[in-house]
């Protein structure tokens, strides 16, 4: 078992390495570099050459990549070009904000999706199944910014129940934060629920046709017990994978929502970086997102091994 898990972790690290190369290469092929960005209109070939030598940009790209990657591993993402501040220091509070919002949405979405998915599976074809499917599909089909603006219009502007801006500050209490970020969290919930719900439903249904489920019914067990005790543990692996993908999406894919609600997360930070051509910031943001994505999926893989007795009790060496 340890071996299987070790393999997953190593694969995750390799993925991260590959992604870091991609990020670096992508910023490398963009027209212009840091020096043209700093000097803007006033650049002459001479000043550019001096600047590049100063920043070490004249060295071959693989040397700069290695340096960048190893520094990043130590938490050193370099300095922002626009305000000369340490990127790590400016990105970490934003990352905490992003995690807060993602965690908030996940706490609502995951139990909701899995619960409704199971309910839909138990009542396959009945009204609750149909309603759950239609509502979740409708929610995923409408663009997220549209839902966001609808919420702002009805719940913030017309009724003043919630604030329309979700800007959080470091001196806010936990309760205040929860209140202020309720709208973006609910918007995100609507976004990710459908996928998890449908996966839960179909995994549970697929397991329900197995002979050991028939056996469980013939043992005289109640339907609820058959599903919770006999079907769910076997349906867990695909559900966990989809949950992880959606959690990763909550961390990575919230850029638009952060904009709509002017929420100070990594996404908004990265967009600023792009518009200002602050390449080190963009690279750092990309790397943080990739890291979160790979981490969540690796955790899902490991959990998938742990819930399967065949893999959990596998003899090492085979």
């Amino acid at each position: 078992m340890l071996r299987i898990i070790a393999v997953r972790v190593v694969l995750g690290l390799l993925t991260l390495l590959g992604v870091s190369i991609l990020i670096f290469a992508a910023t490398e092929i963009l027209p212009g570099d840091v020096c043209t960005a700093i000097q803007g209109q006033g650049a002459t070939p001479d000043t550019l050459r001096v600047c590049r030598i100063e920043l070490g940009l004249d060295r071959p790209s693989y040397v700069r990549y290695t340096e960048w990657f190893f520094n990043a591993l130590h938490g050193d993402f370099g300095l922002s070009l626009t305000n000369k501040r340490d990127i790590l220091k400016s990105i970490s509070p934003k990352f905490v904000n992003t995690l807060f919002l993602a965690g908030y949405a996940a706490l609502i979405a995951v139990p909701l999706a899995v619960g409704l998915g199971i309910l839909a599976a138990i009542n396959e074809g009945k009204w609750i199944d149909k309603v759950a499917n239609i509502v979740s599909l409708a929610a995923i089909s409408v663009p997220e910014f549209f839902i966001g603006y609808l919420f702002i219009l009805f719940l913030a502007v017309r009724n003043h129940w919630f604030p329309s801006l979700s800007t959080v500050f470091s001196d806010m209490s936990f309760g205040e934060r929860v209140y202020v970020t309720a709208l973006p969290a609910v918007t995100l919930t609507l976004l990710v629920t459908a996928h998890m719900l449908r996966m839960t439903r179909s995994s549970v249904l697929a397991i329900m046709s197995q002979p050991y489920i028939e056996m469980a019914f013939l043992k005289g067990l109640a339907r609820a017990r058959v599903i919770m005790v006999h079907a769910l543990p076997n349906a867990a692996a695909p559900i966990i994978t989809v949950i992880a993908l959606n959690l990763a999406y909550l961390v990575v894919g919230v850029v638009v929502i952060e904009r709509v609600f002017t929420y100070p997360g990594v996404g908004a930070f990265m967009i600023d970086g792009v518009s200002k051509r602050d390449l080190p910031v963009v690279q750092a943001g990309g790397l943080v997102f990739a890291g979160a994505f790979v981490l969540l999926n690796t955790v899902a893989d490991v959990l998938g091994v742990l819930v399967n007795p065949r893999l959990r009790r596998a003899k090492t060496g085979t």
């Binding site: 028939e214 013939l218 005790v229 009790r313």
Partner: protein
């Protein structure tokens, strides 16, 4: 006379699209009595077994008749009332224990679940009772056996564990649905003995469903013969075996008892080996599946390889065709040595050895027409033009006893026996010298299997093709094989002409195999046990 504990009257089960699965079937079961339900696939045996618990599979409904347990009609009960009976008064034992145990829980958890949920025992009592059952069923290390997961024990042990699970509430009725069909003969006899002992010790009534008359004869007091969802005959076990009154029952009995030889032994002196395997060794990840095996097949000869599952029969076949890498030894075919790896063999080498699989369902591409399935090897090996391929396919179809116009159909519309005929035609299309048959009849019903064997024999007479026939069924071996090799743990332990193998002096393992095959006598099982007990003393 005791009152019936289970009484089914005029049962009717339909599928949702209106097909009648079971109709007009009635039966009664008294306490401690065992009723055998016998018939081919599609006879409605399992449907009746499940209906006795008022359970119908997805897509089926019980549409008529009454089912009474202890004089109480289950159909009139609420869902909770039915659930209360299931497991507690009447328990089910399925064919495949591997599929019927939940892979996510330990065996003990699953065995103890029923009495606890039904409120009969505390968890501790249930555990103690499970331990007693494990002991009674001869399971290894009963104290720790239950802590294992289903995939960690053997098929025979799992089948016994399922019996323990069914007994956990001490039900009055057990429904056995082909409990030994998936097991090897030597394991089957062990499980059969324990089932019989359990039924007797606890005075449990049972419905025993199987397609094997000889098996049911060992445990049943009475036998009901079913066909197409209707009862054909019901009688005393002995009477059904010795003097069946309906024609269908008679056909089943004669076929099961058949021992007429389909082949005559080839004179050994003239044997010119076509396939010659010498000291072959094949390894799957460090596990030696084929160990120092030598075997040869002559032109026009049938050589059977028998053994239990896991004995290396199929691995030997895979080694010969090059799918299992050969680590040592030689394989000579038609005087030329074959390369160990499939990829390095010439097209002609590939053509001359063809394969027929156990499960024709899986061996045929469901998206291809039969014409394509059979035509493809003709084009591939001979580069024959389209028009000729068509004629050749038509001829092959006739040869295997199917109408020529089948060429346009998809394989999915055919029955199991017809599909196996298509597989045979596909093998013949390559005009091979040797066909390796890997359990070609074990997925088929008795009477259908008999026709396939006759077809294979006829093709051998007409075309002179050789067979390497892999099977676990000694009855088939006796009837079709000129020579026989017995495999055990990757090695050949006995080899010779079939009459030699089946006559004393036997190799001890061969004797064990032979004596484990159920015979068509009601007291066969008791006799074998008595004989084995004497041998031990």
């Amino acid at each position: 006379m005791a009152k019936a504990i289970l009484k089914i009257t005029n049962l009717r089960v339909e599928s949702i699209n209106g097909t009648v699965l079971v109709e007009n079937t009635s039966l009664e079961l008294k306490p401690g009595e065992v009723l055998g339900l016998i018939g081919e696939s599609g006879a409605g045996k399992s449907t009746i077994g499940l209906a006795s618990m008022f359970y119908a599979r997805a897509g089926c409904r019980i549409t008529g008749g009454t089912i009474e347990i202890d004089g109480q009609s289950i159909g009139d009960l609420s869902a909770d009332g039915r659930r209360d009976l299931r497991g507690k008064r009447i328990a089910y034992i399925a064919q495949s224990a591997a599929a019927s145990f939940n892979p996510a829980h330990t065996i003990l958890d699953q065995v103890c679940e029923m009495p606890v949920i039904h409120g009969l025992m505390t968890r501790a009592e249930a555990k103690a009772w499970a331990l007693e059952l494990f002991k009674a069923l001869d399971l290894p290390k009963p104290e720790t056996f239950g802590n294992r997961y289903p995939h960690e024990v053997s098929g025979g042990q799992l089948q016994r564990a399922m019996t323990a699970m069914a007994m956990s509430c001490k039900p009055a009725i057990l429904v056995f649905d082909e409990p030994t069909t998936a097991l090897d003969v030597t394991t089957q006899i062990e499980v059969l003995v324990l089932i019989k002992k359990l039924i007797r010790d606890f005075n449990t009534a049972a419905l025993y469903i199987t397609h094997d008359l000889a098996v049911v004869a060992q445990v049943a007091d009475r036998i009901m013969v079913l066909r197409h969802g209707k009862m054909m005959e019901l009688g005393d076990a002995k009477q059904i075996l010795t003097a069946p009154t309906t024609e269908y029952a008679r056909a089943l009995v004669t076929e099961r008892a058949a021992s007429d030889k389909l082949s005559v032994a080839v004179a050994p002196a003239k044997r010119q080996p076509l396939l010659d395997v010498q000291n072959a060794m094949g390894v799957y990840h460090k596990f030696v599946a084929v160990n120092n095996v030598s075997i040869s097949v002559a032109q026009g000869e049938t050589v059977a390889v028998v053994g239990e599952s896991g004995s290396g029969k199929s691995s030997l076949a895979r080694l010969i065709i090059g799918l299992l890498p050969r680590k040592a030894g030689t394989v000579t075919f038609g005087g030329r040595e074959l390369s160990p790896a499939l990829k390095q063999r010439s097209k002609d080498d590939l053509r001359r050895i063809q394969f027929i699989y156990q499960q024709p369902d899986v061996a045929l591409n469901p998206r291809q027409t039969i014409g394509n399935v059979i035509g493809r090897p003709i084009e591939f090996y001979f580069g024959t033009p389209r028009a000729e391929v068509k004629q050749r396919v038509a001829k092959l179809l006739t040869q295997v006893g199917l109408p020529e116009d089948y060429a346009k159909r998809l394989t999915t519309a055919l029955s199991g026996g017809q599909k196996q005929r298509i597989c045979i035609a596909r093998a013949l299309a390559a005009e091979p010298d040797l066909i390796i048959c890997d359990e070609p009849t074990s997925a088929l019903d008795q009477l259908v299997a008999e026709d396939i064997l006759k077809l294979l024999k006829k093709l051998q007479d007409d075309l002179g093709v050789s067979y390497l026939f892999i099977t676990h069924d000694l009855g088939i071996v006796r009837r079709i094989a000129h020579r026989t090799a017995v495999m055990l743990r990757g090695q050949i332990v006995a080899e010779g002409t079939t009459p030699q193998i089946f006559a004393p002096p036997y190799h001890p393992y061969t004797e064990r195999l032979i004596s484990s095959v159920p015979e068509m006598r009601v007291d066969w099982l008791d006799e074998v046990l008595a004989r084995r007990r004497r041998a031990q003393v």
